[in-house]
Symmetry: C2
Subunit: 209 residues, 2 copies
């Protein structure tokens, strides 16, 4: 599907507003104003507010899919180095599209069936399969220990990152980082998160009780 500039402007504006105020907390008038288009253009291009959201998920869904083929196939890297690369790839992707990620986190909670739930399921399935492949490779080579629970490892990766993302302001407040500029702060936490997760996964994957 191809989108013109105006359609993209609408989706970008909606993404930001949905992330901050939720789907129901955002009116189509808010979106129209933020996107700088006439109110009626949203129905004109997307049919409805709901279908705009669905279009957004189709538009962004692809981007959120981890691209690990080159990493997985690179035989110069140890399994642990590949996990490190996966972590960085994941962090980069989430922070690059934090608004959409927040929208997804919200949407996960609602008990709906339909195209959006379908998109989320497929995304999770793909990412989990890639992650699983990597873990199993490490286990075959004897670098990682046996009995690892891939879905739960995934939850730690996703959950820790999401927690940092959604509670940024509380992290700032509780750790006296209020004065730091937004851009600097984001760099700071990305770097910290990366180092933290790499160390954490090294520990879980190799630690023997």
């Amino acid at each position: 599907m191809e989108y013109n500039d105006k359609q993209i402007a609408i989706m970008d504006a909606a993404e930001k507003l949905f992330a901050d105020n939720g789907f129901s907390g955002t009116s189509v008038r808010d979106i129209a104003e933020a996107a700088g288009v006439n109110l009626a253009m949203i129905s004109y291009y997307f049919g409805s507010k709901e279908k705009l959201m669905e279009a957004m998920f189709r538009y962004r869904g692809d981007f959120m899919r981890l691209k690990l083929e080159s990493i997985l196939l690179n035989s110069n890297l140890t399994p642990l180095q590949k996990v490190d690369k996966l972590i960085d790839e994941y962090i980069e992707r989430i922070f690059n599209k934090q608004c959409f990620h927040k929208v997804m986190l919200r949407e996960q909670m609602v008990d709906n069936t339909g195209p959006i739930a379908e998109q989320i399921t497929q995304l999770k399935a793909t990412n989990q399969a890639l992650f699983k492949q990597l873990i199993h490779e490490g286990q075959r080579k004897g670098d990682f220990k046996k009995g690892l629970d891939v879905p739960f490892l995934m939850m730690t990766l996703v959950g820790t990152t999401s927690q940092l993302l959604t509670s940024q302001k509380y992290y700032r407040a509780l750790n006296n980082l209020q004065e730091m500029k937004n851009e600097e702060f984001e760099k700071h936490i990305k770097k910290k998160l990366s180092a933290y997760l790499k160390n954490l996964f090294k520990a879980i994957l190799t630690y023997e009780a």
Copy 2:
């Protein structure tokens, strides 16, 4: 603050609906119907929908605070055993009040100031301080390694649990647990999560690179 039966019924109904559909996605008419009270009673007792939410946070806020005093002071337990108990205490608390926890997760994302943000800040501060105390004790005794990042450890605990909680249906779908009954499923994942997190924290806290 004391609440009568009807007020509690309203807060319980609101909690469930806010968790599933969000604050804006829930109408006061929905709440009134679910609680079995007249629409006007919500304004009558709480003043407004917004203030109902604030009352809910005051009502539930206390419950969400970790109660670790007895654990912390128990000198028969090793620091690692205390962490295990903290994990179970945390899981129990979150699963006992999953609806409210979901409401909190949603509310964290919105960029508001006011009594709710204040409540969340205090809750996080308290829990983080308790956790910190435990970690430092373990480090003093030489059981835990140095250089641990307490806020990030907290994010892993909170994030992994939240991720499991908010994406239960996806976890079921991706791991072929569709046929399992709700009650059985919840027991199952609680047990798995507990074992997983205990092993994970043992690894991070004691693993030396």
